[in-house]
């Protein structure tokens, strides 16, 4: 039973355009969401996060939107650059019970075309 779902295994976007990566979750206890980026042969690198009390968080070219009623979040990258090509993981955390372990989606492979 997957609690965090990334339904697009891959996404191809032209350089300079907007990349939109989507993530859905089922566990209502999740209250903090994170996006990680992973290059081959490296560990995941933290990108941006959002608390459930917010609906948007922005950091440079990266913006995360959270729609709690739909249990959906998305990561927008504008403009997309070749170095953004990587696997992007959506992760969630339920802190209410003192739980810190992250629940990850399967990832979306983003390919930026020149």
């Amino acid at each position: 039973d997957q609690q965090v779902k990334q339904n697009s295994p891959s996404l191809s976007v032209q350089e300079g355009r907007i990349s939109i990566l989507n993530c859905d979750y089922t566990n209502s206890m999740f209250d903090y969401f994170l996006w990680y980026k992973k290059y081959p042969a490296e560990g995941p690198t933290f990108l941006i996060s959002i608390s459930s009390i917010k609906d948007k968080n922005e950091d440079g070219r990266f913006t995360v939107f959270l729609n709690k009623s739909a249990k959906h979040l998305s990561l927008h990258i504008v403009p997309s650059q070749p170095g953004d090509s990587a696997v992007y993981f959506c992760a969630a955390r339920a802190t209410g019970g003192g739980a810190d372990g992250l629940t990850f989606g399967k990832g979306t492979h983003l390919i930026i075309q020149p």
């Binding site: 994170l34 995941p44 993981f89 955390r93 802190t95 003192g98 810190d100 372990g101 989606g105 399967k106």
Partner: protein, 116 residues
């Protein structure tokens, strides 16, 4: 400032054997979490160590055990290896404040374990 380091990078073991993986957390971090990433999947939480004790555990059998040392480094032990244990094992570190680890966990490069 050294990030999270893991050793070894790669490991090949035979079914039924035991394996120990090692992790040193990022400087200033006191909490270590271990994750298993199978091919084509996202990382799955195994357990977390803080103050040398297992603080939280995911849905993994008792064959998976761990240890944290006074210098905050950690080991992951897997007994009676199965073919299905073949995966990338990731270590992540964070810092406990107010009873909760910092929101962002910093990951090491992982150890690729192959069980034949």
């Amino acid at each position: 400032d050294a990030g999270v380091t893991q050793s070894p990078t790669h490991l090949i073991k035979t079914r039924g054997q035991q394996v120990t993986l090692r992790c040193s957390p990022k400087s200033g971090h006191d909490t270590v979490s271990w994750y298993q990433q199978a091919l084509g999947q996202g990382p799955q939480f195994i357990f977390q160590y803080y103050e040398e004790e297992e603080r939280q555990r995911g849905n993994f059998p008792d064959r998976f055990s761990g240890h944290q040392f006074p210098n905050y480094s950690s080991e992951l032990n897997v007994n009676a290896l199965l073919l299905g244990d073949s995966a990338l094992y990731l270590c992540a570190s964070s810092h406990i404040t107010g009873g909760l680890s910092s929101y962002e966990q910093y990951f090491g490069p992982g150890t690729r374990l192959t069980v034949t």
